[in-house]
């Protein structure tokens, strides 16, 4: 069903690691460490800057992959990984894009299931990769029927 999307990618989108967004995100995961919010703690640290939590890239805009239309309801998040070259810094610009790595269908006890593997990337303003994030999205029988309709 989504096999035609394998290998397709989005255009890079500029994101800013906005300080207010970092604060709200850190609070939402119950991490009140000052390295995320307190400027002085940031300045005194190795990177001379506040950090963003490791799962923060979930908030970024990764652009749109042409012809990949996923419903915003009913998808199941199966797996998620993040790989970092260095920590993500508050205030920096990150250029993000996403690519469809694979799509497979399997039949099991819950009917036909689709597994969509996406990889997302973020690089800094010098073109150096900061992070990549892989996710597996499970599309169950019910959602598949809606998408095929």
């Amino acid at each position: 069903m989504l096999h035609h999307s394998i290998g397709k990618r989005s255009e890079k989108v500029k994101n800013i690691v906005e300080r207010g967004a970092v604060k709200k995100f850190a609070e939402a995961i119950g991490d009140f460490h000052p390295i995320y919010t307190d400027e002085e703690t940031g300045k005194q640290s190795r990177h001379k800057e506040n950090l963003a939590p490791p799962t923060f890239p979930i908030t970024f805009d990764y652009g749109i992959i042409a012809d990949l239309h996923l419903p915003n309801k009913g998808l199941i998040h199966g797996e998620q990984t993040f790989h970092y070259e260095r920590p993500l810094l508050a205030g920096e610009e990150v250029y993000c894009w996403t690519e469809v790595k694979n799509y497979v269908e399997k039949s099991g006890s819950h009917g036909e299931m689709g597994f969509l593997m996406l990889t997302k990337y973020g690089e800094d303003s010098k073109g150096q990769l900061v992070f990549s994030a892989k996710q597996t999205v499970i599309i169950n029988e019910v959602v598949r029927k809606v998408m095929l309709a």
């Binding site: 709200k24 995100f25 939402a28 799962t55 998620q80």
Partner: protein, 134 residues
């Protein structure tokens, strides 16, 4: 505070038990993350999809687990963090966050991490590789 480099294979970072999951936690996470899928915030929408009630965002739980490592930000950073979402987290569930050191490979410290609920069932599990600065 203990240095992360002082832990040995088989030892664990101190477990963190969270307060029971409440609706406001999930509303806040929806706002902070931009994930407004209503199965995380609106009962009727969750029930319509066959769930017993609203469930936490998997990424909320994954985000919570990462905070076990935040105190060590001066020594290194999370280089790899991988999670498999295994079970639903419902309102009032009480999660405990765990990290156990499994391997030390030069400057990379490997941990098995998990969040378990009040029935000791793992709701997420995975690995963290913490990279020490040279």
């Amino acid at each position: 505070m203990t240095s992360i480099a002082d832990y040995s294979i088989g030892s664990s970072l101190t477990d963190v038990q969270l307060d029971p999951v409440n609706r406001l936690d999930l509303i806040k996470y929806a706002g902070a993350s931009g994930d407004f899928n209503p199965i995380h915030t609106i009962d009727e929408e969750a029930e319509k999809t066959g769930l017993p009630g609203i469930i936490a965002h998997g990424m909320w739980t994954m985000g919570n687990v990462s905070k076990l490592f935040t105190p060590y930000y001066g020594e290194g950073f999370i280089q790899d963090y991988s999670i498999r979402f295994k079970g639903m987290v419902l309102l009032n569930d009480v999660l405990t966050l765990k990290a156990k050191l499994t391997k030390i490979d030069c400057n990379k410290i490997h941990f098995n991490v998990a969040a378990v609920n009040q029935e000791q069932k793992e709701v997420i599990k995975g690995q963290v590789v913490f990279c020490l600065y040279e």
